[in-house]
Symmetry: C2
DNA sequence: CAAATATTTATACACTTGCATAACAACGCT
DNA sequence: AGCGTTGTTATGCAAGTGTATAAATATTTG
């Protein structure tokens, strides 16, 4: 009488397993929203059994929060990477920042689905709400700095109040175009969103951010 | 031996019940996301028992779709109402449209929560995706018309391609500011978002939309 | 006022959910 | 090699899920 064979397994490092579980969670959320992120679905995708989740996280709730934090870190990290690799002229830096946020991998249906799923609950779930606001303000501060530098390098200086308004507006354009790109990417040519974004920011600031020959 | 008394009830009209169920669904989604929208929670909020849902809808899925359609109809309807009540000068119409979309009741945490919850699944659920795209394009067409009129009334004419770009950009600013307002409304003064939105649109179009004395 | 109709309730069912627990086996240590 | 530690699996459970069905009652009809 053959007894059911117990499944073989390997012991992965703690950090590695945690990361795998978070990744699997994000995949589930991206595909079917928070509803699709059941402990069993997550475990299946991570290649483990459901019980293991509770060995690394107090409960499903904490795993979801960790996943959300990871997403936001990843998004801001992508934006900063775009800044690090680009030249020092402030106008070009701002343009590069805008462009980077309006093209893959930032513009991505999976990422958007995750973002929307989590943010929908940020209003009712305090932990998620706090995590969101921190990420949002960080992003806006980054925008404000870039805008201030771009203005200063062209000899203009704005009052703090005006700077704030401009940062909010620039941030909004980026967010709005990002949204449209994620939701209906097929409606735009490659680079079109970035083009529109940079053009809009130029108009709002009254500056040219790019050299004359780069408009393509 | 007292037999459990059967609950009293009233027969509401068909359309009324359907609307009540949809309303209850939206309340549930607004509070706890799609996860909170269980048939029992919905029924409880609508003041009926769970079984009744299946008398008015083939299944829960169809109720959710109907609820989503209702939300989008309501949002676009609000925007159009703002247009109907305002004067005929094209610039002012555009300004009023922008302002209406950046203040309550369009800017509202509950509405946003619903929107985010549904749109997160618009990528994977074809029915929701179609419903979304239709609503989105309708909104953008509206923007494009308003922009075209505003430009024309000030003697400028844009090519179709340029008009398209401007409409996308204006749409993005509205979306982005709406998002910020819904997520962190307490960070903005009353009317500040509308002010920023109109200012940004003016800059992008190179027009003044308001009379000189209305800037407040 | 009685009968017919169909809205609404009540109950049951199969399934999924997150979580608890105990058995097990992979790995590090000596 | 043997042993202990603990990462991992397997199993079970109570609560909650959507749905199916029958019974009951509010309302309409004759």
């Amino acid at each position: 009488m053959a007894v059911a064979a117990r499944r073989k397994f390997r012991r992965e490092g703690e950090e590695r397993r945690r990361q795998d579980l978070i990744e699997a969670t994000l995949d589930c959320v991206a595909e079917h929203g928070l509803q699709g992120a059941t402990v069993r679905a997550i475990a299946l995708r991570a290649g483990v059994t459901a019980g293991l989740i509770r060995h690394y996280f107090p409960g499903k709730e904490e795993l979801l929060q960790a996943a959300y934090v990871t997403v936001m870190e990843r998004m801001t990290e992508l934006a900063k990477t775009a800044l690090a690799t680009v030249e020092h002229e402030p106008g070009r830096r701002l343009a590069a920042f805008v462009a980077a946020n309006l093209a893959p991998p930032v513009v991505d249906t999976g990422t958007f689905s995750i973002w929307a799923s989590f943010i929908g609950r940020a209003g009712s779930d305090p932990a998620l709400g706090i995590a969101h606001r921190a990420g949002y303000l960080g992003f806006r501060d980054e925008v404000e700095t870039l805008v201030a530098d771009a203005l200063a390098s062209s000899g203009r200086h704005a009052s703090p109040a005006e700077l704030r308004r401009l940062a909010i507006a620039v941030n909004a354009v980026i967010d709005g175009l990002w949204l449209e790109g994620c939701l209906a990417g097929d409606m735009f040519e490659t680079g079109e969103l970035a083009e529109i974004g940079i053009g809009s920011v130029e108009a709002m600031l009254g500056l040219r951010l790019r050299g004359e020959r780069e408009v393509a």
